[in-house]
């Protein structure tokens, strides 16, 4: 098999600790993914990415760095990839989705911080993830208090730029975000040594839009009555989209979408007819967090949509490609990103509108509103979300969980009861 030990050593990783992660990943992947029947053939690409997850892509990034490219690690769907790509930089998502990294984060953060933040900090400080070692600069944002304090800790270990998110969506807030994007562009230009021109930014906007369109095609296929792909597989595509090359991501996702559209035409589904359709709303599920999808889909239901940052929030709405000056382009980017409805905003009625719209579009039987433990924002907004769904006559189950295995059976019991209740 491929041996990346030298590469990991050169990155300063703790090989012994990392090996413990390499030991659990194959088991979890086998249980969640290889236990499924009749998966689309196109998923082979994503299976391969996971099989060599700390090898193939990290090696590509290191090769790019040798040629002078800079790698920017991000943690939020508000950070505009377009700006980095326009300066010939590379973006890699860095959100941690494994319990393996949480104890490392808890050495410097309170336990009452969400697992995503703790895992992200742990992955960096414990030196057990190549992506966290490779990124030349981290880009944080002020979407929650836990992240803000985490950046202060990470910033002592790695170059860090922080984008100040507005908390409201008034015209002056969109303008403020435009200013943040311009400042970020300036930082990226300085860090890469490459000037961002309208032509380069235009190309980058197009590249990322094409990726969004491909992911939207994948989701469109999930609206079919005979669901051609499992929620677990769709989630995997989304998770890997955060750190794969955007052009390759679009290409492979479009190829998969071709297969799914053919499956729909042929009446091929991965679920028996009548399987209850579930939408998830709430907090993101970073790789390799497959827990809830797996429990739902081994409890007699199918996940057909995610209103999360690793779901529709990542690809809905495009940046206007008709603008030709940097001024206009930055405004268009700000406009698109401020259309993302995160619980960090107040008021945030747009998110409730999204959830109700998506529930209808994906013809769901019920919604599971899931929040990572200690995510105060999404947990608090859960009240409004659940009330709106109940008022609309859509069954909803609220769940709070983390990355541990401990509550799996309890969740299964609750979810099975919810699915049975759907009739």
């Amino acid at each position: 098999m491929a041996n990346y030990a030298e590469m990991w050593k050169d990155l300063g990783m703790d090989l012994e600790a990392h090996d413990a992660l390499c030991a659990v990943l194959p088991t979890a992947f086998g249980d969640v993914y290889l236990s499924q029947e009749n998966r689309p053939e196109g998923m082979g690409f994503w299976d391969m990415v996971v099989a060599d997850i700390h090898g193939i892509r990290p090696a590509e990034l290191i090769e790019a760095q040798k040629k002078g490219q800079k790698v920017f690690g991000t943690f939020c769907v508000y950070v505009p990839d377009e700006v980095v790509i326009a300066a010939d930089g590379i973006v890699t998502g860095l959100c941690g989705g494994s319990q393996f990294w949480v104890p490392g984060g808890e050495k410097v953060l309170p336990k009452s911080v969400c697992p995503l933040i703790k895992a992200s900090v742990g992955a960096r400080l414990e030196r057990t993830c190549p992506f966290f070692r490779i990124a030349d600069m981290y880009v944080g944002e002020t979407t929650c208090d836990g992240k803000k304090k985490a950046w202060e800790i990470l910033g002592k270990d790695v170059p860090m730029h922080i984008m100040d998110m507005p908390q409201m969506k008034r015209p002056q807030d969109v303008k403020k975000w435009e200013g943040e994007i311009k400042e970020f562009a300036h930082i990226v230009e300085e860090f890469t040594g490459n000037e961002i021109t309208p032509e380069k930014l235009g190309e980058a906007i197009h590249t990322i839009n094409e990726k969004r369109k491909a992911l939207a095609r994948l989701y469109e296929a999930r609206k079919a009555k005979n669901t051609p792909i499992s929620g677990r597989d769709a989630l995997l595509v989304m998770q890997i989209a955060f750190f794969d090359d955007p052009v390759r991501c679009a290409q492979m996702t479009n190829k998969l979408a071709d297969e799914l559209e053919q499956r729909i035409a042929d009446g091929v589904s991965v679920f028996p007819a009548g399987t209850k359709r579930i939408m998830l709303s709430g907090t993101p599920m970073a790789i390799p967090n497959w827990k809830l999808h797996h429990i739902i889909e081994t409890s007699g239901a199918a996940v057909v949509c995610e209103e999360t940052c690793t779901g529709t929030r990542y690809f809905e709405n495009l940046v206007d490609e008709t603008k030709t000056t940097l001024e206009e382009q930055y405004a268009a980017i700000a406009e698109r990103y401020m259309g993302v409805n995160c619980a960090c905003f107040t008021p945030n009625t747009g998110r409730v509108d999204d959830i109700l719209r998506l529930a209808k579009e994906y013809d769901v039987d019920g919604v599971i509103d899931v929040n990572l433990k200690f995510c105060c924002l999404y947990d608090t907004e859960g009240y409004t979300v659940e009330k709106a769904l109940k008022d609309a006559g859509i069954p909803v189950l609220g769940i709070e969980t983390d990355y541990t295995d401990a509550d799996a059976e309890q969740l299964r019991t609750r979810i099975q009861a919810f699915v049975e209740m759907l009739g």
């Binding site: 098999m1 491929a2 041996n3 030990a5 990943l25 992947f29 393996f100 990355y403």
Partner: protein
């Protein structure tokens, strides 16, 4: 119990290119294979890595295909089925 006692075969490779080439050859001969992270117990050295998961009923045809095409691989390991969707062990 029946599933756990079933033998699965994992084909290991020096690199993923070898693995992808063999999977293509198997596909051409309509032999089923699935890409899987190689179980740690058979990796032998530090590393993640892809393997091809083969069901016992297909392994003879896979060996024939490898021989006929001089396909490159590192090792074929037989293991009791490692897959258990009700294990509740996540990463």
């Amino acid at each position: 119990m029946e599933e756990a006692s079933r033998i699965n075969y994992y084909i290991l490779f020096e690199n993923y290119t070898q693995g992808m080439l063999l999977q293509e050859l198997l596909r051409e001969e309509h032999i089923s294979s699935r890409i899987s992270p190689a179980p740690r117990s058979i990796q032998g050295e530090l590393g993640c890595g892809m393997s091809l998961l083969i069901q016992p009923e297909d392994i003879d045809r896979v060996r024939e295909c490898i021989e006929k095409n001089h396909a490159e691989y590192h090792h074929i390991a037989a293991l009791p089925c490692q897959i258990n969707p009700r294990r509740n062990r996540f990463c």
